[in-house]
Symmetry: C2
Subunit: 125 residues, 2 copies
């Protein structure tokens, strides 16, 4: 039962779009990720996902299933959003952005989309 | 699906030891609380609980069940800890401290201990 210093954990990796697990509780995992550029459109059929921005700016684009209608939310440090299960979303960061994620253990970060960015197994740091 | 600004949410209440729910995901709730003074010893039999310090300093004291052996951890802003289910803990804040909590929906913040600080129903803000 050790404390976790977020800032120190972010110093432990450089890769973008590769969430690192830092702790878990009640079947959910807390992860840190560095984002830069555009991620792939995806959703998580059964899992809600929380994004909390620690540094930089995160654009989350959403689209209605089966349409091309898109909306977006811009998150700055100290801001969070929960993306409900089933909602198509696409994270974008024009400059490097640091986020904390909360989602169920075992979830794929690209959802059902198999993509070059898909990681089959995430590391703990 | 609105974004949540943590700093703005903390401006919406003054009471200490009264967690406010700000969002939920996968059966877990994210709460904000202002702490000052000493809370009551308690545990949550089946639920892990995450403490993340946003402002100030939080002392979490732990004791081995059935003994008087105590240890403590001091958390500063940007630091978190998960208190596993069943572990006796007592939060202490000498000066006002702002924390984010993550725990299952419906959990009592004083565990099985009925205390003057126990709130039967928490508000959403």
């Amino acid at each position: 039962m050790d404390k976790i210093n977020i800032s120190n954990k972010f110093k432990m990796f450089e890769e973008t779009w590769t969430p690192k697990i830092i702790t878990e509780l009640n079947g959910q995992q807390v992860k840190l990720a560095k984002l830069k550029g555009e991620f792939v459109w995806h959703n998580h059929e059964h899992e809600d996902e929380l994004f909390y921005v620690v540094k930089g700016e995160l654009i989350l684009r959403f689209r209605e299933s089966g349409t091309n209608e898109q909306t977006e939310v811009i998150l700055k440090p100290g801001e969070m959003i929960v993306v409900p299960a089933g909602v198509d979303h696409k994270p974008i960061a024009h400059e490097e952005c640091h986020v904390m994620l909360i989602e169920p253990a075992g979830i794929k970060h690209t959802g059902d989309v198999q993509h070059e960015l898909t990681k089959d197994k995430l590391d703990w740091i």
